[in-house]
């Protein structure tokens, strides 16, 4: 099978509900299942979170009073090489037993790792209630690089987590911009729920530093926080069963930019964090006599230095920008917007 599907949550529920089944995983050990799923899916959530930290600004210059911009962006958070596999034997499983693949390896791909065949995957083993041994291979990665390279013949092959944002920046007093990212809760009952809120503040710092106002650069400080809540319902016959994910990103940056004709290169230095909380909600029967309620919950978080370099091009009120950010998950951001005053 060769296919790729990168969708927003809004169209995600098109995948068949019959493909969801969680009971077999929970049969083994809930605590160990959490460790495996956390290791497997962490790059997705971190990539998405660091992607959310991008695209907040494309110049250090703030708007004039009531000036504004509307800027949609798309960001690709590059998945580091060391986040493409996890060591099944190093997870500290207490009840599930790691079983190597046919080559003796315990390395298992993360969700954003390579797409491997079952025989190349390690397995976990456990004993069921009747004393029989059960073995299940670990999940494969989605193989994005393979798809871009072999199926799309893309000239650019990167393993990256995409995310898209749209924001409005408004100029207020004292050379301060407020940037808003808001999607009110949208939902399809029984299918999904989704909402987003982000708030950023960019403030001109030159005005407060004696002598700096004479320099030919713009210099601003920026802080932005963004949060996305989503919920996907697993089984239409079990309305309480859902996967709930809350992902947030926070960044604090100093920004320098300088306009040359229609071009404005900019540089940002600062700090960024990304954190996600994932919950498997609902009641799941794991055998004839037992069930588990809200069985899984895990977090994925990371933080560290963030530096980005970008270029904005402005023609009348149209802006186009691109930037590259160096952080735990490096990001490439492209944006197209309107900016007035």
């Amino acid at each position: 099978m060769k296919k790729i599907l990168i969708a927003t949550l809004i169209i995600a529920p098109f995948l068949s509900r019959s493909q969801y089944d969680v009971e077999s995983l929970l049969n083994g050990s809930v605590a160990d299942a959490e460790k495996i799923l956390e290791a497997y899916s962490e790059p997705i959530y971190l990539g998405f979170g660091f992607g959310m930290n991008s695209g907040w600004y494309n110049t250090a210059k703030t708007h004039k009073l009531l000036g504004f911009d509307i800027t949609p962006t798309i960001t690709f958070a590059r998945i580091p090489t060391d986040a493409q596999f996890y060591d099944l034997n190093g997870l500290g499983l207490t009840e599930l037993i790691p079983v190597p693949n046919e080559n003796g390896s315990f390395q298992s791909p993360t969700a954003l790792g390579p797409n491997l065949k079952p025989e190349d995957l390690p397995s976990i083993a456990y004993e069921d209630a009747n004393g029989n041994e059960v073995r299940v291979s670990t999940p494969t990665g989605i193989g994005m690089e393979e798809y871009l390279d072999q199926d799309l013949n893309s000239p650019i092959v990167i393993n990256a987590m995409p995310s898209a944002m749209a924001q409005v920046g408004i100029g207020l007093v004292k050379n301060t911009d407020v940037v808003l990212r808001i999607i009110p809760k949208i939902e399809e009952p029984g299918d999904y729920e989704f909402s987003m809120f982000g708030l950023g503040v960019k403030h001109d710092l030159k005005q407060w530093i004696p002598g700096l106002s004479l320099t030919p650069f713009d210099f601003a400080g920026f802080a932005g926080w963004n949060k996305i809540n989503s919920k996907v319902f697993i089984d239409e016959n079990e309305p309480d069963q859902a996967v709930e994910v809350s992902t947030s990103g926070f960044t604090v940056q100093g920004i320098v930019s300088k306009k040359f004709w229609i071009f404005t290169p900019y540089l940002g230095l600062g700090f960024a964090t990304s954190s996600s909380n994932v919950n498997l909600l609902g009641t799941y029967e794991i055998d004839n006599n037992n069930s588990l309620t809200d069985p899984l919950s895990f977090d994925a978080s990371a933080s560290g230095f963030r530096g980005n370099l970008g270029l904005q091009m402005k023609i009348l009120i149209l802006t186009i920008h691109a930037d590259y950010a160096i952080q735990k998950y490096n990001t490439i951001t492209l944006g197209l917007g309107l900016s007035i005053r």
Partner: protein
């Protein structure tokens, strides 16, 4: 198990896959229990019950003891660990690996340790009976309690039979079998005697589903 992965990916709205697709292996080492110990289990095996006739048996001209034959069925649907895999399994995207078959004997009393000529397994494959004689089934050809004795299917014939078993499981998801205990000479006794013991086969099987989303 893979289904939960899809659920975890959906909330952030990404899903893709390469040539290998989303596949997985599910395997179990599953023992079909004796009906005496698992009365509620539909796939259990009745006890082996062999009648030793109550007549003097001449070693020179022995009386033939009728072999006991017990039928049973190995059904993938009875196996807890295969529930998810069977929902996805079909002959287009699936493979079955019949890794190993072992058996245990239990409940044989010391005075029931008679000689035995052979133990054979008869598989019903594609509508035909295929017989496998267990190589060296017991020590010293004496009926005795055993644990995890291997039914070796490693030679060329064994591999052919294994391949047929895998095809049968892939098509029907169940396997009809008979076990035949053929006793050898027994000591004489004035009255009929019954030997009653349990036979528990253990199957080690993997199901490979190569692409659940195709």
């Amino acid at each position: 198990m893979k289904k939960i992965i899809i659920a975890l990916l959906l909330p952030i709205g990404i899903f893709s896959c390469g040539e290998a697709g989303v596949g997985f292996d599910a395997g179990t080492r599953f023992t079909l229990p004796s009906c005496a110990t698992e009365p509620s289990f539909s796939g259990c095996i009745p006890d082996i019950d062999i009648l030793i006739p109550g007549v003097p048996i001449d070693v020179v001209d022995p009386v033939v003891v009728d072999p006991d034959e017990t039928s049973f069925q190995y059904d993938l649907a009875d196996i807890e660990g295969f529930e998810s895999a069977l929902q996805e399994l079909n002959s287009e995207n699936g493979l079955i690996f019949f890794n190993e078959l072992t058996f245990s004997l239990d409940g044989i009393e010391p005075d029931e340790e008679f000689g035995i000529d052979n133990i054979s397994l008869v598989f019903r494959l594609s509508g035909q009976d295929v017989t496998v004689f267990v190589v060296n089934p017991v020590e010293n050809f004496t009926l005795q309690n055993l644990e995890d004795r291997d039914v070796f299917l490693v030679d060329e014939t064994g591999r052919d039979i294994t391949s047929l078993i895998e095809q049968e499981l892939l098509l029907r998801q169940q396997l009809d079998m008979r076990v035949i205990f053929d006793l050898g000479d027994v000591s004489s006794s004035p009255s009929d005697r019954n030997i009653d013991f349990t036979f528990e086969p253990t199957f080690d099987v993997d199901i490979r589903v190569e692409d659940i989303l195709d």
